[in-house]
């Protein structure tokens, strides 16, 4: 193996093992920042030693053992320091750190440790952006640079965000544990929100050149599946996993050869990943078995499932989709849900009925800069034959989106309408 090969191997091992190592260490040292530093130290040792010694047989166990030794060294040094301060009779300024129990079996609790790590990374004391960055860092094993590129932020900004997040957690004395009872529900929704944010950032990047950043979707899916494994009795966890699996099944069909987005109705459904659809439908079944009432992710997954089950757009059960949007609007009232519902109504009862519903939304303040509203209206106006108005809506939508690919699509739709308009004249 060449040095580059070794580095790529270490990179792969790190991405697979980082979360477990950091989680196990956090349980021992009770400080997620310190745990990550120790894990990073172990990574550095690996980078030094593995090119010489080769990759160990069980690289995960090797990283954990090395990090543990680093931790023991650190605690010994601190104890020694504390003792010296005592000897010279000075007031102890160095915080006395009790030697943790390093012999406690690390492997046994790995499930609980990973879950606790997810809860701590997604703690509500942190901003949503900080939670996402910290989660990708601690649970996804992503480098600061990778996170920065994924979120189109600068590396120092992300590094800063992570450092602040760790400090906030330490200052707030957030416990490394799996919350129970009523707290669990609130904390869990915070975790789900972060996973879905990561997925969405990858699925339909809000800005930038690439329309999809699939790496983020896969990372979110991986986190979701892990969470479903660790918290198998939570219906919304399965609901979110179902939603992501089904959305991800369309990944290959929703981008054309030159990177342009392809809308749901125009997608070649043969390119939908049936394995992911099966996984999604199975997760949806689990969510629905666990609870009689659907949570918001489960409803969204049920809507996605309606599309996944239809072999062509015409076969879609639009009446069911409308009723699922009704349920969603009741649970989480939002103009965006209303907009989606309007699309479903237009499919179930015709474009006029759908367009009627969007009229009320144009005065909605929160949708004023939302490009999908004029985009949907443009689409419905086209179907109604009101082409000049449609063109104006597409142009408006294009001016609102920050995504290059999407803007191109919208402009080309406006352009096509112009040609169509002329040909009618």
């Amino acid at each position: 193996m060449t040095a580059t090969d070794i580095h790529r191997t270490i990179d792969a091992v790190w991405k697979m093992e980082a979360a477990k190592v950091i989680a196990g260490l956090t349980r021992i040292v009770r400080d997620v920042g310190l745990a990550e530093d120790l894990a990073q130290d172990a990574l550095v040792v690996a980078l030094e030693q593995w090119p010489e010694s080769g990759v160990p047989n069980n690289p995960g166990a090797w990283l954990m053992a090395t990090a543990k030794h680093r931790a023991i060294d650190l605690f010994r040094r601190n104890q020694l320091l504390a003792r010296k301060h005592e000897e010279v009779g000075r007031e102890i300024e160095v915080k006395q750190m009790a030697m943790p129990n390093f012999d406690a079996a690390v492997e046994d609790n790995i499930g609980d440790d990973l879950l606790s790590l997810m809860f701590i990374s997604c703690h509500p004391v942190l901003s949503t952006e900080a939670r996402a960055a910290l989660t990708l860092r601690l649970l996804g094993g992503l480098t600061t640079d990778e996170i920065a590129r994924a979120f189109l932020a600068s590396e120092p900004a992300i590094a800063q965000r992570i450092v602040r997040a760790k400090r906030t957690l330490a200052d707030a004395h957030v416990l490394f544990e799996v919350p129970r009872g009523r707290e669990l529900v609130a904390r869990l929704s915070s975790v789900l929100e972060v996973i879905y944010l990561i997925f969405n950032e990858g699925y339909s990047a809000t800005a930038g050149e690439d329309w999809i950043r699939p790496g983020l979707c896969e990372e979110a899916l991986r986190l979701g599946r892990t969470l479903a494994e660790l918290a198998p009795l939570e219906p919304e966890v399965h609901g979110l996993v179902a939603l992501m699996e089904i959305q991800a099944s369309r990944m290959k069909a929703r981008v054309g050869p030159s990177g342009e987005p392809i809308l749901l109705f125009d997608q070649d459904r043969a390119r939908w990943d049936q394995l992911l659809i099966r996984r999604g439908l199975a997760a949806l079944d689990r969510a629905e078995e666990l609870s009689a009432t659907r949570g918001s992710y489960t409803i969204q997954a049920a809507i996605a499932a309606c599309h996944a089950r239809a072999r062509s757009p015409e076969e879609t059960d639009w009446a069911r989709i409308v009723s699922l949007y009704d349920a969603l609007a009741e649970l989480t009232p939002s103009p965006v849900v209303q907009l989606n519902r309007a699309v479903a109504v237009s499919m179930a009862s015709g474009p006029a009925a759908g367009f009627e519903l969007t009229e009320k939304l144009t005065s909605e303040l929160s949708l004023r800069n939302y490009h999908l509203l004029p985009s949907v209206r443009g689409d419905l106006l086209t179907k109604l034959g009101r082409l000049a108005e449609a063109r104006a809506e597409f142009a408006r939508a294009a001016s609102l989106t920050q995504n290059t690919r999407e803007r191109e699509l919208l402009l080309s739709r406006a352009e096509r309408l112009r040609e169509l308009d002329w040909s009618i004249l």
Partner: protein
């Protein structure tokens, strides 16, 4: 990207023990749930198999067992990994449970997907 992992091992006379089945079962379940294992099967003795070959247009069939072979195909897996290195790690994980033998890893052709030759252009290492 997806990889085909073909497991080759010396053919043994005895079926796997209940314990071996259980540890392998655990790994398979883990992989299926986590999503890195897309499909996997294990093979029965070569005695029950055959080799069908076409050579210079002529077809021949050789029935098992394949006694002359040092190692025979013991099973296969289809792995989902974000790099060849990750697939290798998954194969190592498998061999730690399966015992002596070899996994031949081959990247599966996926239209529109980068092969491991091409430089990565995706934002997140994938």
């Amino acid at each position: 990207m997806r990889f085909l992992s073909i497991y080759k091992t010396a053919e043994r006379a005895t079926p796997p023990t209940a314990e071996e089945m259980a540890t392998m079962g655990k790994l398979v379940e883990e992989g299926m749930k986590a999503g890195w294992l897309l499909a996997t099967e294990g093979c029965l003795p070569t005695e029950l198999g055959a080799r069908v070959r076409r050579s210079s247009g002529k077809l021949t069939v050789t029935d098992g067992p394949f006694t002359e072979a040092k190692e025979v195909v013991g099973g296969f897996a289809i792995l989902k990994a974000s790099s060849k290195e990750e697939a290798i790690e998954l194969a190592r994980q498998f061999l730690r449970v399966a015992g002596d033998g070899e996994c031949e890893l081959r990247q599966i052709y996926d239209p529109g997907e980068a092969s491991c030759y091409e430089p990565k252009t995706v934002a997140v290492a994938s």
